[in-house]
């Protein structure tokens, strides 16, 4: 499952292929949509949750509130079912889904006029990033490269060769994970790639009222 982009997406993978998949784009309702999507995917596949042997979750980078929904859901499944939970960089999933041969980049919307991005040598090999930057600041470095994802589509001046898919579908994430696990690779711990420090903004209520 992945909730690091506006898409809430869940897939069931049997090690060889995607058995069932769900992807809904709604940046504001990750919390409401994820569990029903899990339920639907399992129902489509005719499988119960306790048949799942591994949980894979996108660890971002992505807008934090949505990102955490996927991570805490995956971690809780892992604890409740006593199965391992693996993390994968969300951008790696998009790169894998794009399936491009040569060098390219992936960019997703980081809001605040920035993108989360990474550079790839091929669909499976990340060579730089993930990082968060303003499109104009990285446009020159990525000049001439296709850039995959909604972050590219949003900023055509910076990324003239924007490509799909815009959002991740979890089938790609699961496929990549299945490949890596079969090859005996360790995946990431299921912990968020925030890339930004929290805004140390104290809520309004706590502003100093003492007149000077």
């Amino acid at each position: 499952m992945d909730t690091a982009t506006p898409a809430v997406t869940v897939a069931l993978h049997d090690g060889t292929r995607v058995v069932a998949e769900s992807a809904q784009v709604d940046a504001r309702r990750h919390g409401e949509l994820l569990l029903p999507a899990v339920d639907r995917v399992l129902a489509d596949a005719g499988v119960k949750l306790d048949a799942v042997t591994d949980v894979v979750v996108g660890v971002g980078p992505g807008p934090y509130t949505g990102l955490r929904v996927g991570l805490v859901t995956a971690a809780t499944f892992g604890s409740a079912l006593s199965v391992p939970v693996h993390g994968l960089c969300t951008l790696d999933g998009l790169a894998y889904a794009a399936g491009l041969e040569g060098p390219f980049a992936v960019a997703t919307d980081a809001r605040r006029k920035e993108v989360y991005w990474a550079r790839y040598q091929d669909a499976r090999t990340r060579t730089e990033g993930p990082s968060v930057d303003r499109p104009a600041d990285i446009a020159e470095r990525l000049a001439g490269l296709p850039v995959v994802g909604a972050g590219a589509v949003l900023y055509p001046e910076a990324f003239p060769d924007a490509r799909g898919p815009e959002h991740l579908a979890a089938g790609a994430l699961a496929g990549l994970a299945a490949e890596r696990l079969a090859a005996g690779e360790e995946l990431l711990p299921p912990q968020p790639l925030y890339l930004r420090r929290p805004d140390a903004q104290v809520p309004k209520n706590y502003k100093v009222v003492t007149p000077k």
Binding site: G31, D39, A74, T76, N205
Partner: protein, 366 residues
């Protein structure tokens, strides 16, 4: 009793990641991970820091609570979670975890109200709540007078703060006095050595034409800050203990006066006080004194149950199970401004099958 509902409760509305387990009205576990120290240097809770801490602490705290209670997740009769009110991003971590846990173990899910939970927690301390119960809830986030004829589905707001919460006033004054965050405990401690009558600070909304049960602490806060600033401007030493005692007295005087009045007006002979400020020793003492004089029985849980915790959520969840209240469904969302009148968030189709919960579809465990 073994046939009482065994419920796990999750609370993440502010800066405490709480997981509690109760059987009926018996507390089995109360695991809390707090991020308060991280917030201290900002002088208040920073929502994003709180949300990050909840994510890190969530599963370890669930596992710690289960271990402490000596039960397995599979033994549970339900999972309860604070659906609101609270910080949106923080609530969402707990709600997501609760939904995942309930789904994975095929248990009914109960999204419940944080304020109603603060009241219901007293069942773990003093047994079943009298009906109705009058409740005064005071903390950094809330100051309310509530009448609860039935904690699972009938809680009526009589009054609330029109500006700052009582606990916020403590934090603010502590900051003006350079005492750090949170302000409640340190002001309570210093006030014990001060004179509560030394300075006559204003009692907000206590005029004869003011709303009888509403509170206002903003004017008091400003008045105390101005008094301190004036001392400093005059080059005089600030009598910190007297200021603390006089300020605290103004807060607890108004709180207890209005609470006792509400009990009398409504003919309720029990008063429950909860929320973090209920740990304040002067509030407890003055409430006891005034309740005794008015013939009202006072119920205040131990301090650890007054502050935010998972046990209070579990306590209300257990009551929901015991009274066959409808469960929530998988679409349950966090509602940062959930009204207190919504004691829980039943699923959209729950009236069709009453307490048959929506989570358990036949594609789960057979």
């Amino acid at each position: 009793m073994a046939d009482e509902p065994l419920v796990l409760g999750i609370e993440t509305s502010c800066d405490e990641t709480g997981v509690g387990i109760v059987r009926g009205t018996t507390l089995l576990a109360d695991a809390v991970a707090s991020s308060v120290d991280t917030h201290a240097r900002f002088g208040g809770v920073v929502p994003e820091i709180a949300s990050r801490a909840h994510l890190e602490a969530m599963v370890p705290t669930i596992e710690r609570a289960l271990k402490e209670a000596g039960v397995s997740g599979r033994d549970l009769d339900g999972i309860a979670v604070t659906a609101g009110p609270g910080l949106a991003g923080a609530l969402l971590v707990g709600v997501s975890a609760a939904k995942a846990y309930a789904y994975a173990l095929n248990k009914p899910l109960y999204g419940v109200n944080h304020l109603a939970s603060h009241i219901c927690v007293d069942q773990l301390e003093h047994g079943p709540l009298p009906e109705p119960t009058m409740a005064l809830l005071v903390s950094g986030g809330h100051s309310s007078l509530l009448l609860a004829p039935d904690i699972t589905n009938d809680v009526r707001p009589l009054g609330a703060t029109i500006d700052d919460a009582a606990g916020e006033a403590f934090d603010k004054i502590a900051r003006v006095l350079d005492l750090g965050f949170p302000g409640g405990p340190v002001i309570d401690r210093l006030a014990r050595e001060g004179d509560p009558a030394a300075i006559a600070f204003p009692r907000g909304l206590t005029g004869s034409r003011d709303p009888a049960y509403d509170f206002s602490f903003s004017g008091l806060k400003t008045s105390v800050a101005r008094w301190i600033e004036a001392k400093r401007a005059a080059g005089e030493e600030v009598p910190v203990r007297d200021v603390a005692a006089s300020f605290q007295e103004a807060v607890v005087d108004v709180l207890t006066r209005k609470a006792v009045r509400a009990c009398k007006d409504e003919g309720v002979d029990h008063l429950m006080i909860g929320g973090g400020v209920a740990a304040n020793s002067r509030l407890r003492a003055l409430a006891r004194e005034r309740c005794e004089r008015a013939g009202i029985r006072l119920r205040v849980p131990r301090p650890k149950l007054c502050t935010d915790n998972g046990a209070m959520v579990a306590a209300l969840g257990a009551e929901m199970v015991a009274r066959n209240r409808p469960a929530s469904d998988l679409e349950l969302s966090a509602d940062s401004s959930l009204p207190v009148t919504e004691t829980h968030v039943p699923g959209a189709h729950s009236h069709d099958h009453d307490h048959v919960h929506e989570v358990s579809k036949d594609n789960l465990y057979s």
